[in-house]
Every structure is written in C-alpha cells, then in structure tokens.
C-alpha cells in the first residue's frame, strides 16, 4: 500500500465520523457513517475501504463499544462499493441511488441478526422505537428488528451513495488522478 493510501485512511475514517455534524445541522434521520468507507473503496479499492470501515468501528467503539459488533456492516459496505465501482454505478445519480437502495436492504439484512442476538434489537433510539412500532404492527421479534434496521438503513445508504457520487464528480481531475481507481469509478478513465 502506498503512503498516499496510508494517509487517506485516517482522513476517510474522520469523514465517516465528522459528517454527523452536517446531519445534525439539517435534522435528517441519517447516519452517513459509511461515506468515507464507500468513497475510499471507489478511490482505492476494497482493501483500503475495509481498513477504513474496521478502523471506523474501532474508533467509534472507544466512545461507545456497542458500535463494534456492527463492524461486519462496514466490511460488507466496502465490498459492495467495490462491486458498484467496477460496474460503473457511480457514473450518475440515476444508477447510484438505486444501488444505494439495494445496499440499504443488504445492510439491514446483515445488521438484523447482530442487532437481534446481541442487543435484542435495543440499539440506538430511533431504531429501537421503529422496532417497537414493528411489534405494535404485529410483526415477530425478528421481523420487527428487521423493520427497524430497514427503515434506518434504506434511505441512509441511498443518500450516502448519492453523496459519494457527487463528491467523485466534484473532485478535480488532477486530484482524482492521484488515486488509482477514481477516474474509472466515474467513467472518466
């Protein structure tokens, strides 16, 4: 791994964790905590993306260790972003948003067993309340857990994919050319 990619990873982790300030400012029910993971994967491949995701979960766990079990989601997001970059899904918002919606489904399917078996679905406030809503709608425990995860992940990942696509297209060509895969991801190679 080159020194530039080594320098990219801490920056990408910081992006994952600092975007919460922007989300708080606009008051949308989003996390955007995989933006850096998806972005680094599109710029530099899956290894850098996975390292970014694992490090994000590790650093987040120092603040609140309940984030650590969800490290698997970060890894799956990086692998999916790698597929998206190879298939050219970051070339426009028309392909990026549906790709993000699919990732939302995959992420909620992955986070449901973690949330169910470790936390009994009592994760963050919003998800726990949505899970309770699922229970009130008559869903099973596992079904309501999936419902909670799905509601939180579905829109979040679509917005994240759209945001990463916007960032990739806004990158000056000279900056993008410094990362091995950036130009190919947006179809400018």
């Amino acid at each position: 791994m080159s020194v530039r990619l080594l320098a990219l990873i801490p920056v990408a982790v910081a992006i994952n964790l600092a975007l919460s300030a922007a989300v708080d400012a606009v008051g949308l029910p989003l996390f955007l905590d995989t933006t850096g993971t998806i972005l680094t994967t599109a710029l530099a491949g899956p290894v850098v993306g996975i390292l970014t995701g694992v490090l994000t979960s590790t650093v987040n766990s120092l603040r609140n260790p309940t984030f650590w079990p969800f490290v698997a989601i970060q890894i799956i997001v990086a692998l999916y972003a790698w597929l998206a970059a190879r298939r050219g899904w970051f070339r426009s918002l028309r392909t990026a948003v549906p790709a993000g919606l699919v990732l939302g489904v995959i992420a909620s399917l992955t986070s449901t067993p973690i949330s169910y078996f470790i936390f009994k679905c009592a994760t963050t406030g919003g998800i726990a309340l949505t899970t309770k809503l699922g229970q009130l709608l008559g869903l099973s425990d596992l079904g309501s857990c999936f419902f909670g995860s799905f509601v939180s992940d579905f829109g979040d990942k679509a917005v994240t994919f759209a945001l990463v696509t916007t960032i990739l297209h806004a990158l000056p060509r000279r900056t993008a050319a410094r990362f091995p895969l950036a130009l190919r991801a947006v179809g400018r190679a």
């Binding site: 791994m1 080159s2 020194v3 530039r4 080594l6 320098a7 990219l8 990873i9 801490p10 920056v11 982790v13 910081a14 992006i15 964790l17 600092a18 975007l19 300030a21 922007a22 989300v23 400012a25 606009v26 008051g27 949308l28 989003l30 955007l32 933006t35 972005l39 390292l51 490090l55 590790t58 650093v59 766990s61 120092l62 609140n64 260790p65 309940t66 470790i118 936390f119 009994k120 679905c121 009592a122 994760t123 406030g125 726990a128 309340l129 899970t131 309770k132 229970q135 917005v159 945001l163 916007t166 960032i167 806004a170 990158l171 900056t175 410094r178």
Partner: protein, 222 residues
Amino acid sequence: MRFLHPFTLFTLAVALPALAWILPAPWGAAGTFAVAMALLLTPGASPGWRVARTALLTAAPFWFFLYLLHGVGGMVPTGLRLSTMIASFVWLVAILPPARLVEAMVAAGWPVSAAFLFSATLQAVPALRERAQRLVDAQRCRGLATRGGPLVRLAALRALALPLVLSALHEVDERALALETRGLVPGARRTALAPPPDHWSERVLRWALVLGCAALFVWRVA
C-alpha cells in the same frame, strides 16, 4: 491497574464482555458487570466515580429500550451484558492512553504503518469534527437554509458535506508528503522509545483469559 501492559488491559476489557455472553444469564452477566464496575471504582487504582458515571449513563438508554421492547424479564440479562461491555471499554479508554498502546504495538513488532493508522485516526477525527462545525456555522452565516422540506434539507446537506469532504481529500497529499519525509513507508519497523514492560506473569494471564473464554464457550455450546 495503570502499570499493567496495554495488551493485558485490552485482553481484560475484551474478556469481560465475552464472558458476559458465554456464562449463563443472568448471574454470569451480573458477575462480569460487578467485576467491570469494581475495575472502574477500585480506590487508588482505577479511573474513579466520574468515569463509572459515564459508563452508567451510556448504558442507561439500552436498559430503557430493552424494557420498552421486552419488559423486565427480557431487559435484565441483555442489559447486564451490554452494561458489562460498556463498562469494560469505558474503563479501558480511561486507563490506557492511545500513545501507550501505540508504543506497545511498535515494541511487539507491529508494522509502524498499523501504529500510524491508529494514532493518526485518533488525531484526525476531532480535527475534522471541529472543521465540520465551523463549516456549518459559516454556511448558516451565508444564509444556507437547513430547515424545510426534505429536498431543502438534502440540498443543505450537500452544501455542508461537499466542502468538508473535498477539503479533507486535498489534505491527503500533504499528509503523504509529511509521512515520506519522516521515513514512514509501508513495511518499515521502528524501535519503541519507551516500551511498556511486559512481565511473563502478564503474558500467562493474557493466555489464561483467552483459553478460559474459549474453554467456557466450548462447554456452553457442547
């Protein structure tokens, strides 16, 4: 406890939640939670009441949501397990400065790039958070509307996130140049300036904890 090797502290902090899940509930989890709280509160050797309060405040919402979803019966076992996990890690963070952990990693022969990733991330996160807050304030001063319908909010999000991410990416080159100047290339190894002492008894304790957890796990599954 502060004199213990960072790897020993880390193993203890990981072993306690592992045991909380492996041992039969609720008594196993109650025991591990009691040990975690004792680590936080032992006079003279621990972070103290203020850190213990942080752990309890972090755990409190989980108890509430567990009660909301599962009632008292479902709340207690999982609540104790999650509280053990939270108390152990809050204790670890309070007792182990990251610089000491990095020094131990370097002394143990980890590549210097791994140690760099950990320490650079810990420095980068608060710096970028501060910049994000400044950007939010600056954009609001310029009249950016952050409230309204979903489309208005999404447009505001774009206006906040884009400059933050682009400015962070522009810094990567400067950081890379600084690293190369200091000889930090992948695969390089460093000599630790002040490696934490690692007594044989601590190594035995670490292995005993790991093997103990593994044996108990096998016993519970079998």
